[in-house]
């Protein structure tokens, strides 16, 4: 949309700027270094800290001007301001003097030091000498759980933490207490922060009040970290991260801004899940089982080659790919085993669901939105998915979208969107319409206009009904009770009236729900709406794997001499144990390439150590269809290698040509785009390894990196040559390009004067806007094909409670239901005990109480679970915590029987 630019005058120079922004955002976009605290690009302005002061002049004759806060002033045409007027500069320094009165002077021992916004702002304003000669105010700290460390004395009361935690992310258990000079930010009592987004406090807080507790365990200054642009591997959203290393261990993960995906934020699974990389369960050496009866033994690479060679000679080779392995690794495996022997390695339910979703997304009726686009939706219908637990950042985006109605209301009476408190005070509890149909309570319910509790069958029926109320051509649903009909009409009306209707489904749903969703999309399209569909898939590359050819589990036939090659996949988390046992028993040779010991890797005959996301490069396709690449943070240490590199080795052993031609990562990519033209966009978009910025590689270390000559001096006083990286345009060194690289190659955010994460703004066209050169990632799925489509007519029968037992539905957990993150030390302490949720009526029927431990039997699988009474669960239904560590996989939904233990 074209907007007329406005002219403002800053210190005598006239600038053409976008209207509708506040003056602070405008000045930052123009490159002025105006200091600020309480403003955050994703949170807007409240005018609390008074730091971003500028001089505003009434007209060109006004030589005195008056001090105003740039964050609270709209950039309007004809505005005359000064950012360098001596009085206003002195005022800004005074604000720092005030804040430093009580702030500890112990930067050298503070975790924030070196990436502290307060340090940056202090230097920027020039405040220097201390005049305050009284005692400092002190506070007590709280234990806020395994993720966030709390040091209240460092607080400068900018209120960002509570504004993020409560207003933005909907948290309830962090607040501000007290008043005057005794303002306290914490919980009403010590305890673990409940929000799924608590980790962002470490980045939102401009000082060291809230810091990353996992980093504290192996603390390293920002300037001493070796960093790489990375992609979160813990769900399908594909948030952009910066992963950082020192001394060969991964130290932390922080946000990497992507204006289309995660903005400035991450969820706690994404931020703290990284610890699995340093887990004691890591496979660091090849292991070999001499015979089926013997145990795995650690071997040299050379010792496993003969065995591999023998195993790969088999005529029957079957490969299991993985939704948590990169496109390149999966592709390499399919080359090794042959496309006809390549299996997706996921449950058949998930396989068919993913394929169906892809078909719907490419059918032309519906758009696959980025999170940025999700935030623009103004009517949302969620069918069967608890996105807070399966795609947390999608839930956060939906939360923002529900504010659109209030923002519109505010803008109508001249309150701009960035005037955050004013918008919230005006709008109070007004939300854009959100409708949630799910089997149990979800955290987003508090924002929903209506909620509907039902199993997938009935949720699908509601969806079909909604479609039929939007368009008469869509099949109608018989025998729907009047309440549901009314609800369906209400949803249909809201979607019809919306400019940006959004439908959300996910892995907890099923094909019926996907069909219903497709009908809603088609119906909306028939009345010239442009609906969007967001699908929460389970893993980081579920979509990418879905795009690749491969077979479902169900089609697998095993010959006796089969060699099975399993890529980064614990099959015991995919299908029932008995099936996997049976499969593995039948195979002659089991080759497993993985990072962590798990039930599958422990059954390998040949176990090959592969690099995690931190020691590999690879491309992942997120749920939107956006291909993004992660890069080695540090080189895989032999014999750990990237999966693709190990598979290339296997192919070499096998004697196929790729074995020799795949030397570098780009070689695999080049082969891949030949087999999959759809991926050629990736190659066009992402720079090759030979890409250079002004003839230099992009440095993974900041120019302040210290101790390079000393860090290995206890081993050798000769400084080692930095490892070379032939696979990417990045260098494992502080030598190289330090400026703003292409957005997908940004290893860290830093700019002169901006050592904190707020330096990210220097990489953008405007704060919270697009990154210079465009946001990272290339969309592979566009609904450009305009094929003739028809409505799905297979409406399921309504759910009926069964006499033989309870209908068990999966309850996904942000902490525990994803494999890799569950191996992180801090995160694993947040995993709940396996539980079953039932309502009070069913509990009474089975005479069980809350917290009882009961036996749950589903088909032949028996598990012990703790009972949670949850009034939101429908009669005849129970929710079972899904795929927690230590629990056997159960394909759900299914009928299960509860017995008191």
């Amino acid at each position: 949309m074209e907007v007329a630019m406005v002219k403002i005058q800053i210190d005598g120079t006239i600038y053409e700027v976008k209207p509708g922004k506040n003056l602070l955002e405008t000045c930052l976009s123009l490159g002025f270094d105006i200091p600020y605290f309480c403003f955050h690009p994703s949170l807007g302005s409240v005018g609390a800290c008074r730091l971003c002061a500028v001089k505003k002049y009434a007209n060109s004759n006004d030589k005195t001007g008056r001090i105003v806060m740039s964050c609270m002033e709209p950039a309007v045409d004809g505005l005359i301001i000064s950012v360098k007027d001596p009085e206003v500069k002195a005022f800004r320094a005074s604000i720092l003097e005030s804040l430093m009165a009580n702030h500890p002077h112990d930067c050298p021992v503070c975790d924030e030091g070196g990436e502290c916004h307060l340090q940056d702002m202090t230097v920027m304003t020039g405040h220097n000498y201390r005049r305050f000669d009284f005692k400092k105010r002190t506070h007590k700290n709280q234990n806020l759980g395994p993720f966030i460390h709390h040091e209240m004395n460092r607080c400068i009361q900018c209120y960002r933490c509570v504004r993020f935690y409560r207003d933005y992310a909907g948290g309830k258990d962090l607040n501000v207490f007290g008043s005057a000079n005794n303002v306290y930010f914490g919980r009403h009592e010590e305890g673990t922060l409940e929000s799924e987004f608590s980790g962002n406090l470490a980045e939102i807080c401009p000082t060291g009040v809230f810091t990353d507790k996992t980093l504290k365990k192996h603390f390293t200054r920002k300037w001493d970290l070796t960093n790489a642009p990375s992609i979160c591997v813990h769900c399908s959203v594909g948030c952009n991260t910066i992963a950082s290393e020192r001394y060969g261990s991964l130290r932390r993960v922080v946000n990497r801004y992507n204006g289309d995906v995660n903005g400035y934020l991450l969820c706690d699974r994404g931020r703290f899940g990284y610890e699995f990389v340093n887990s004691t369960k890591r496979i660091k050496n090849p292991q070999l089982r001499q015979s089926k009866e013997s145990a795995l033994e650690v071997k040299e690479v050379s010792e496993i080659i003969p065995k591999l060679s023998e195993a790969l000679k088999s005529k029957n080779i079957v490969g299991f790919g993985s939704p948590r392995a990169s496109l390149e690794a999966n592709f390499a495996l399919s080359k090794l085993v042959g496309a006809e022997n390549f299996y997706h390695g996921i449950s058949d339910k998930e396989y068919h669901f993913t394929k169906l979703c892809l078909q719907i997304l490419t059918s032309g009726a519906v758009h696959s939105p980025s999170l940025k686009e999700v935030e623009k939706a103004n009517a949302i219908f969620i069918l069967g998915e608890d996105v807070t637990n399966t795609a947390p950042m999608l839930a956060l985006a939906i939360r923002q979208a529900t504010r659109n109605k209030s923002i519109e209301k505010a803008e109508k009476i001249g309150i701009p969107k960035w005037n955050d408190a004013a918008v919230r005070e005006l709008a109070q509890n007004i939300h854009s319409p959100l409708f949630i149909a799910s089997p149990y309570f979800t955290k987003l319910d508090e924002l929903a206009e209506t909620t509907y509790r039902a199993t997938s069958e009935d949720i699908a029926r509601l969806g079909f009904a909604v479609a039929s109320y939007i368009s008469n051509d869509a099949p109608s649903v018989d025998n729907l009770n009047i309440d549901i009909q009314n609800q369906a009409k209400r949803i249909a009306d809201a979607l019809k009236q919306s400019k940006n209707p959004l439908i959300v489904i996910g892995v907890q749903g099923n094909e019926d729900i996907a069909h219903a969703t497709a009908n809603i999309a088609l119906a909306l399209k028939s009345i010239d709406k442009k609906p969007s569909l967001s699908i929460a898939l389970p893993e980081s590359n579920s979509m990418g794997l879905g795009i690749m050819e491969g077979k479902p589990f169900g089609e697998l036939k095993i010959e006796n001499d089969t060699t099975l090659v399993i890529l980064e996949n614990d099959l015991y988390r995919r299908v029932e144990k008995s099936l996997v046992d049976n499969l593995l028993e039948k195979c002659q040779n089991i080759i497993v390439l993985d990072q962590l010991m798990n039930e599958t890797s422990s059954k390998a005959d040949i176990l090959i150590p592969t690099g995690t996301f931190a020691e590999s490069e690879g491309t992942l396709v997120n749920n939107e269809g956006r291909a993004q690449r992660y890069y080695n943070v540090y080189p895989a240490i032999e014999p750990i290698r990237e999966s693709w590199r190990w598979i290339a080795e296997l192919i070499r052993i096998q004697g196929k040509p790729e074995g020799n031609s795949w030397q570098k990562f780009d070689d695999v990519v080049n082969s891949m785009v030949v087999s999959y033209p759809i991926f050629s966009k990736i190659k066009e978009y992402l720079p090759n390894a030979d890409f250079r910025m002004f003839n230099e590689k992009i440095s993974r270390q900041t120019m302040r990196f210290s101790g390079r000559t000393a860090m290995n001096a206890n081993i050798s006083v000769h400084e080692q040559k930095p490892p070379q990286d032939a696979d990417s345009p990045l260098a494992f060194s502080m030598e190289g390009y330090q400026g703003v690289p292409p957005s997908s190659l940004t290893p860290f955010h830093w700019a002169p004067g901006w050592n904190s994460n707020q330096a990210a703004n220097k990489y953008m066209v405007e704060p919270n806007g697009e990154l210079k050169g465009g946001n990272p990632g290339i969309r592979l799925i566009e609904n450009t094909t305009d094929q003739q489509q028809s409505y799905y007519k297979n409406i399921p029968q309504p759910f009926k409670p069964r006499n033989e037992g309870l209908f068990i539905v999966p309850v996904h957990q942000i902490f525990g239901s994803e494999e890799l993150s569950s191996n992180g030390e801090a995160l694993s302490s947040r995993i709940p005990e396996p539980f079953i949720k039932i309502n009070l009526k069913e509990a009474t029927r089975y005479s069980i109480r809350s917290n009882d431990t009961v036996h749950l039997t589903v088909e032949n699988i028996d598990v012990l679970v703790k009972v949670e009474i949850d009034a939101s669960i429908p009669d005849g239904v129970a929710g079972l915590s899904f795929n927690l560590p230590g629990m056997p996989f159960i394909s759900l939904p299914k009928i299960g029987v509860i017995k008191k233990s």
Partner: protein, 424 residues
């Protein structure tokens, strides 16, 4: 001399109940407006009367009401709030009206609510006004049972609910936008303006917040007209004013006098002059957050314009007297201590600056101050000035300090030179 507001208030006696109030012509204003005055007629009348807000800022009441958008432009409930959170040090005028003539306030609120078409009204009252709480509660009940409140008031079709809310007790909640936050159950911190409450007030709806004394005027203006009102004052600003005097005068107290009565008249004629042996040294004219005037300015008229011209603010009109036997530094320190404690803690200069100033003043009292501390105080009077802080709290706190430094600089220096407080 007419004293419309306090005519029927008898100290140490129960206030007029509904029947008694009606006998004095009470609720005739409500009958009059509901029988045929248009909301705009009332707003027009109050505008021409030039009733200036009695809470301290002196904003024109009729103008404030006229800023409330019409129903056709903004849908939903409108609110009227009576600001009875009287916590200004030295100020006790609203208390006199709340305890002395509750129905006068309620009648004023009904008319004001009708004028802005509010369906809900609140009295936001200081927690410590326990006696007023009982009195107001009873009066509201009486007004409901007599049909002046509730549905279809006097058969007019106009509905109004009036609630009493007793504050949790913070000075800042007397600031109208902090008051609204507190009334909504949120932290008592001010809101950014714009938007003003007329646009986005209580629960985001158009709202007018008026002081108790201001609202108490409304029935009288309806009854007697704007000319009458304007003529009550000795200047053109209109009306009488509740003036109070505290400090070492012979008869500290509260009087309703024409707006524009001089300080001399108030002190000498009504407060009985200074106590024997005490000299007048300074006057804080309108509550703690106004600049000192000094003895030579005693002939200043106590109206908004004259006090402004003299370098201070009329504020609440309840003055505090500084005498020659009281240390001005301790006097100011006492005020600053209050303001530092009552800062809401939202914006940096106020939250951090006021405690610093308080500590420095303590240093003076302890005899440890140096010339540098004068600089620090002077710095803060500018640093905590209007526009630099989020609301008017800290700038108000600086008014007695900046004028104190101007008029009593020698006294500050004596603390430094003599290394102790000369008054102790």
């Amino acid at each position: 001399m007419e004293t419309p507001l306090t005519k029927y208030i008898k100290p140490n006696q129960a206030p007029l109940d509904l029947k008694e109030y009606e006998k004095t012509g009470g609720y005739e204003g409500v009958r009059k407006v509901l029988k045929g005055m248009l909301p705009d007629d009332i707003i027009g009348l109050v505008k021409t009367s030039n009733l200036l807000g009695r809470g301290g800022a002196g904003f024109q009441t009729g103008l404030k009401w006229s800023l409330v958008p019409k129903e056709k432009d903004v849908a939903g409930v409108r609110y009227l709030v009576a600001n009875a959170d009287e916590m200004e040090p030295g100020t006790f005028k609203d208390r006199y009206l709340l305890e002395g003539n509750p129905h006068q306030l309620i009648e004023g609120m009904i008319i004001a609510s009708y004028a802005i078409q509010a369906e809900k009204a609140y009295i936001f009252m200081r927690w410590a006004y326990k006696k007023a709480e009982v009195i107001i509660k009873k009066a509201i009940e009486e007004a409901y049972s007599a049909g002046y409140l509730g549905k279809n008031i006097l058969g007019s079709g106009y509905n109004l609910d009036l609630h009493l809310h007793t504050s949790a007790g913070r000075y800042i909640c007397g600031e109208e936008s902090a008051l609204l936050n507190a009334l909504e159950g949120k932290r008592g911190i001010p809101r950014a303006k714009p938007p003003f409450p007329a646009t986005s007030g209580l629960f985001g709806q158009p709202t007018v917040v008026n002081n108790v004394e201001t609202l108490s005027w409304i029935p009288h203006i309806i009854e007697n007209g704007s000319d009458w009102f304007i003529k009550l004052s000795t200047s053109g600003e209109g009306g009488t004013k509740l003036y109070g005097v505290s400090g070492r005068v012979k008869k500290p107290g509260l009087w309703e006098l024409p707006l524009g009565t001089t300080i001399r008249e108030i002190i000498e004629d009504y407060a009985g002059g200074m106590q024997d042996g005490y000299q007048l040294k300074g006057i804080i004219p309108g509550g703690a957050s106004t600049d000192f005037l000094i003895a030579s300015q005693i002939d200043t008229k106590m109206d908004f314009a004259s006090v402004r011209a003299a370098g201070s603010r009329l504020g609440t009109g309840t003055m505090m007297i500084l005498d020659d036997k009281t240390c001005p530094v301790a006097f100011i320190h006492n005020l600053i201590k209050f303001f530092a404690k009552e800062s809401c803690g939202f914006c940096t200069p106020c939250r951090e600056g006021l405690p610093w100033v308080e500590k420095v003043l303590m240093k003076f009292e302890e005899g440890n101050a140096t010339l540098k501390d004068i600089e620090i105080l002077e710095f803060h009077t500018k640093y905590l000035g209007p526009g630099n802080t989020f609301c008017a709290h800290a700038p108000g706190a600086m008014e007695p300090l900046q004028s104190g430094l101007k008029y009593f600089k020698d006294d500050f220096l004596r603390h430094i030179n003599e290394k102790h407080c000369p008054w102790r």
